[in-house]
Symmetry: C2
Subunit: 261 residues, 2 copies
C-alpha cells in the first residue's frame, strides 16, 4: 500500500491525490463530501459521508453507506482537477469526460482516510449462463429443448434478422428457436417475424419455440395466442452441458467439480 493517511488536512490530501490520480493507482477516500454532476442529466448531492474510489483505469465511484449502486460516478474520466478551495477549506476533486460531455465535482469538507494502492489483478472473470451459452448448449445437446431435435443451423440469417437456432423436429418439421434469458413481449414478436419469414421461404407451417430459463404468465399467453411454443431450460442444465463441452475440449473445465456446492 503506497499511502495510508488518517484524517489528513485538505492540503495534505490534495498533495497525495494530485500525485497519484491519473497515474494507474487505486485511490480510496473516505470523507464528508458533497457532489454535483452535470452532463446527460444534472444532479446534486448534499454533504454526507461517502467512499470515493478512483480506479486504475480512471473510473470514479462515489458510494454512500446504502444501496448497491453508487450515488455518483464516471465510467471513464478524461481529465482530473484537484484543488483546495481556501475560502471554504475544502478539497475539490473534478472528473471530466467528453463524449458525452460530463463533469463530476466532489467537495470534501472532511477527510477521514486516504489510501493509495497499486492493485494487481490479472485474473479474468469466467462466467457462464449468458444467452450465448444457452445457444451452444442446445447445439451440443438439442434434447435440452426436445427429444429427436436436430440442429440445422445456428445464427441463420433472414431479412428479419438472425435466427438463434434453426432445426428439425423428429417429424421433420422445421423449427425456429429463439433463445432469451429474459423474455418479454418483444421476444415473442421477434420469434413471430422469424417464423413468418421461414414460412414464406419454405411454404409450409413452421414451429416456433421460445427457449428461456424463466417465463411470465402474460408473455406465455401472448406466445400461445400466436401458436408459438415455450420450452423452459434449467440454467443448471445449460451450465452442466457447457462444462461437459469444456471438459471434452480442454480436458479440464474452468468450472470443475471442485466448484460444485
Amino acid at each position: 500500500m503506497e499511502e495510508l493517511v488518517e484524517n489528513p488536512d485538505v492540503s495534505t490530501a490534495r498533495d497525495i491525490i494530485e500525485e497519484y490520480v491519473a497515474r494507474k493507482y487505486t485511490l480510496q477516500i473516505n470523507g464528508l463530501c458533497s457532489v454535483n454532476y452535470q452532463g446527460r442529466a444534472k444532479s446534486k448531492l448534499d454533504r454526507g459521508e461517502r467512499i470515493v474510489i478512483v480506479k486504475q483505469c480512471s473510473a470514479l465511484l462515489v458510494h454512500g453507506p446504502e444501496n448497491y449502486q453508487p450515488k455518483n460516478w464516471q465510467p471513464e474520466v478524461d481529465s482530473w482537477s484537484v484543488e483546495v478551495d481556501d475560502e471554504n477549506d475544502e478539497l475539490v476533486l473534478e472528473a471530466r469526460r467528453s463524449n458525452p460531455e460530463e463533469l463530476v465535482e466532489i467537495r470534501f469538507e472532511e477527510i477521514d482516510l486516504v489510501t493509495v494502492n497499486k492493485m494487481v489483478d490479472k485474473s479474468e472473470l469466467k462466467i457462464r449462463g449468458h444467452e450465448v451459452d444457452i445457444h451452444e448448449s442446445i447445439e451440443d445437446d438439442p434434447e435440452l429443448v426436445e427429444e429427436g431435435l436436430t440442429v440445422i443451423e445456428r445464427e441463420r440469417e433472414t431479412p428479419a434478422g438472425f435466427i438463434d437456432v434453426f432445426a428439425r423436429d423428429e417429424d421433420d418439421n422445421y423449427v425456429v428457436i429463439e433463445v432469451k434469458r429474459n423474455p418479454d413481449y418483444n421476444t415473442v414478436l421477434q420469434l413471430q417475424r422469424y417464423v413468418d419469414e421461414i414460412e414464406d421461404e419454405f411454404r409450409g407451417d413452421i414451429r416456433g419455440i421460445l427457449v428461456a430459463p424463466k417465463m411470465t404468465e402474460k408473455v406465455l399467453a401472448y406466445l400461445e395466442e400466436r401458436d408459438l411454443e415455450f420450452v423452459e431450460v434449467e440454467m443448471e442444465d445449460v451450465i452442466a452441458s457447457y462444462e461437459a463441452i469444456d471438459r471434452s475440449q480442454k480436458g479440464l473445465s474452468d468450472f470443475g467439480p471442485e466448484y460444485e456446492t
Copy 2:
C-alpha cells in the same frame, strides 16, 4: 471510524468482520482474494487484489482495480457467513440471498486493510433529466416542442397504454406526443399504436410526435416512414424549464444558479 487494521491475520480479520457485518456498519476490506458466484449464472474469479465493500443495507461489492462495475456483487444479502479455513489459512466470507437463490463466496488469502465505519449520509440525491422531467417541462412550456401547442392531457389512458402528452397544435389538430430519453424502434411502434388508437377515437388524422434529446438515423427513417414526426429537445432546456418551475413553486430551486458551471 470504528476499526482500522492493517495487515491483520485471518482470525483477527474474522473477528472484526464477524462483529460488524450484518449490523449496519460499512466495511471495507482490501486484500488478495478469489470469488465464486452461483445463482442466476455461475462465475469464477481467481486470486487477485480487490476491494470488498459491505454496506449498511447489506449490499456487497467486490471491485477490482479496473472498470466501473464490480467484478462480483450481491445487491441484498440475507445471510452472512464468516469462517476461517484453517487448512488453507484463508478467510471465507459467504453472502447468500434467496429470491433469487444466490451465493457469493469470497476467499481471502491475504488481507491488507480492514476498516469499519458507521457512515452517516442523510442527503438525498436530487437529480433532473429523467424522462418524467421532460414530460413536466413540456406541460409547463409546450413551445419546447412546437409553437402554438396546447397540452390537453398528460398520461391519457388508451387501450394501447398511456399517452405521455396529448395536445392540440395551432391549427387545432390533435397531437400525440411520446417522450423518450433513448428512443428506439420500439418507441416508434408504441407511438404508432397510440396514434392509431386516437385516430379510431376521433375519426381523423392525428399527428404523432416523438420527443427525445437524441435520435439515430435509422429510427428517424422508421419514424418518417409512418408519417410520424421527431422533435429534439435539449436536455439543458428541459432542466432550465424545470428549475423555473422549482423557483416559482418553492421560491428557491434545488438547482439554483450557484450550481451553474
